[in-house]
Structures are given as C-alpha cells and as structure tokens.
C-alpha cells in the first residue's frame, strides 16, 4: 500500500519480486487443503454412531463450543440431549468440501459442518437444512 518510484536498482527488485511471487503461489494452492476426505469420514462416523445409539461416542466428535451450546439451558448431558434430538439418519456421503480449517459434508439425510481442531476434524453443526443464501438451520450447532 505504498508507493515507490523506479530507481536504478529496478532489475534487482524485479528479480526479488518474481521469486517471491512463486513462493507465494505455493501456500496459496496448498490452502485449498485436501482434508475433505477426512472431514467426510468424520461426518459419516458421527452419523454411524448416532444410528448405533452410541450418542456418548458421537458427542466426542463434537467441537467444544457445540457441546457447550448443547448442554446449556435445560439440565442434561450431551449424550442425552443429542439422542433426544432424533437427528435424521444419514449413511451415505454425497459431497465433502474443505477450505482452510472448515469443512462441509453433504450426506443423503443431513448436511454437517466441521472444523479442524488439533490434528482431527470435529463437528460444529449437524442436522442442518439449507435456507438458500441464509445460514443453514441446524439442530445442533456451536456458538
């Protein structure tokens, strides 16, 4: 955001800029990170656990903020409240997309949002229905 005029050192500046641009393109490309398969697997596992009735294990796949939100309000554990919601079953992953540290996985009966926490994906929202341009309406979500 600053100006500079072309002085006699222009050739060196050009070489430096060209080299830097190549360096910058590399992380730019890796930023479209290929974590969508892992995210899709995690979303599938989440629904698998719910379908098998193991809500406690499913809760372990939720992001901390999502658990906090789920447990707020009426007394009750994450597992109890999660099973009480009766989320629609979903068994087949249709599409997974990951950008930066966030991901969205579309399944046959649900859309799940995830975020990267440490070295794994955790679910930030599930039981989500599209509302067009507006944010998805989710039965489980963080704050």
């Amino acid at each position: 955001m600053t100006f500079w005029k072309l002085g006699s050192r222009r050739a060196a500046a050009v070489r430096l800029a060209a080299a830097g641009s190549v360096l910058l393109l590399a992380p730019g490309c890796s930023a479209l990170n290929p974590g969508s398969d892992e995210a899709a697997a995690m979303a599938g596992r989440f629904h698998q656990l719910l379908a098998s009735g193991d809500s406690a294990a499913a809760c372990e796949l939720l992001a901390p903020g999502t658990i906090e939100e789920l447990e707020s309000g009426d007394p009750g554990s994450c597992a109890g409240k999660l099973s009480g919601l009766g989320l629609a079953t979903a068994s087949k992953v249709l599409e997974g997309r990951a950008y930066g540290r966030e991901a969205q996985v579309k399944l046959d009966g649900d859309t799940v949002f995830l975020t990267r926490s440490g070295d794994r994906w955790v679910v930030t929202a599930a039981g989500c229905a599209s509302r067009g341009e507006r944010p998805y309406d989710c039965e489980v979500k963080g704050h």
């Binding site: 393109l25 930023a31 950008y99 966030e102």
Partner: protein, 225 residues
C-alpha cells in the same frame, strides 16, 4: 573509486530487510489474531507454520502485492506517453512516446557496454525494450491470481464458519468480497502515485533523487536532484 558493496547496494539491502521484517511481523501478528479467534471459539491454537501456509495469511499478502505491482506497471507504462509539467517523475513534454533508437541506445546506436539484447535487434531487442513492464505485469497477474485463489479459500472458510455454502471460485471472482479487497488496495496506490507526481512539482527533499534540486523552478520537468 571502489566502494564497499554494502554501500553500493545499500538501497536494495535496506528495502530487502524492511520487507522481511514487515512480512515476519505480519506473520506473527496475524497468527496472534487468528489464535485469539480460535481461543474464543474454544478451538485449539495453530502453529506458526500452519498459519503462514494458510489461505488467510496468503490472501492478506497477495492482495497487497498485486496492487503494488499494478502500480509499478501502470507507472512504468503510462509515463512513456503521459507527462506532468514540473514533476521529476515525468520526462520532458517533448519526449512523449517510445523515443528514437538513438535516444534509447538500441541497435547500431548501442554503446560497447550496452546490454547484448539492446544491440541484437529483432525480437530480442523488442522483448528487452519492454522487459520491465512485462515482468511487472506478469508478477501483477500472478499475484492477483494468487489473491483470487487464496481469497476464495479464506472466504469459503468464513462462509462455512457461518454455516453457509462456500460457493465456487468463479462465483467468488464476481463477489463483492473479491472486488472490495482488490479496489481498496488499488485506490490507495493510485492516490500515492498522484500525490508523488503532483507534490514533487512544488515540494523538495534535499539530496533525494526523487526530488528536484531545492532551488529548481516549479515548472522545470524531468530534473532530479
């Protein structure tokens, strides 16, 4: 007289160091800001390496780079034909245009110490005659492309955080976010050039080659102190 290379390359070295210090400072402050948001969302903090290879960092860098190189490109190319009376950034009014081969020391007018491609003629000389603009233009296009790719990735991540669909790169190119990031940088670059071109007509910086000599008349063009 032989000078110390640190003296004869002082300008490049100083700006190289300023660039690196600023980039490192941007990386650390950006990481701190990113991790503040992670903590407030109850998520694990990320490492320095993870941050500097993220789209968030890359888009912040590339959006500034592209605008700087666009500024250079336009300044280099437009000053071939456009002039500003009284400005040391402009050439003399009568010299508008690409100028003669003799003025430019091209072909048979080249001096013994002229670059080989200035003497070669044909495509080589044509390319070399425009090499500065071509390289600046190429870096601009690559930086802007990098901004669009990394910007889309960062935008898509924000969309997902807000529980919205991420969209596509094509949609992002037509989005308000992309053009806002782009134009907010362009306007500042163009204002800076305008300021330098006009202010240098009337104001002086003693000893600076970017300024006219302190005593030079306001109307004198293409004179550097």
């Amino acid at each position: 007289m032989k000078h110390n290379p640190l003296v004869t390359n002082g300008l490049s070295i100083a700006f190289g160091l300023l660039f690196l210090a600023s980039l490192i400072g941007q990386a650390f402050s950006g990481l701190a800001y990113f991790n503040e948001q992670q903590v407030s969302a109850n998520l694990e903090e990320i490492s320095f390496l993870q941050y500097v290879t993220s789209s968030t960092f890359a888009v912040d860098v590339t959006e500034n780079w592209q605008s700087e190189y666009l500024q250079f490109l336009l300044f280099i190319v437009l000053t071939v034909w456009l002039v500003q009376r009284g400005s040391p950034e402009s050439k003399e009014i009568e010299r508008r245009g690409a100028e003669s081969d003799e003025d430019q020391l091209i072909g048979r007018h080249a001096k013994p110490e002229s670059p080989a491609w200035a003497r070669a003629g044909g495509l080589k000389t044509a390319l070399y005659s425009n090499s500065l603009g071509l390289v600046m233009g190429t870096v601009f296009v690559l930086s802007w492309l990098a901004q669009s790719v990394t910007g889309f990735s960062a935008y898509a991540a924000d969309q997902l955080t807000n529980l919205q669909d991420p969209g596509t790169w094509g949609e992002y190119l037509g989005s308000a976010e992309f053009w806002n990031r782009t134009l907010q940088n362009w306007q500042s670059e163009f204002l800076a050039v305008l300021s330098m071109v006009i202010l240098s007509v009337y104001l002086r910086q003693r000893g600076s080659p970017e300024s006219k000599p302190v005593g030079a008349p306001h109307g004198e063009t293409s004179v550097e102190g």
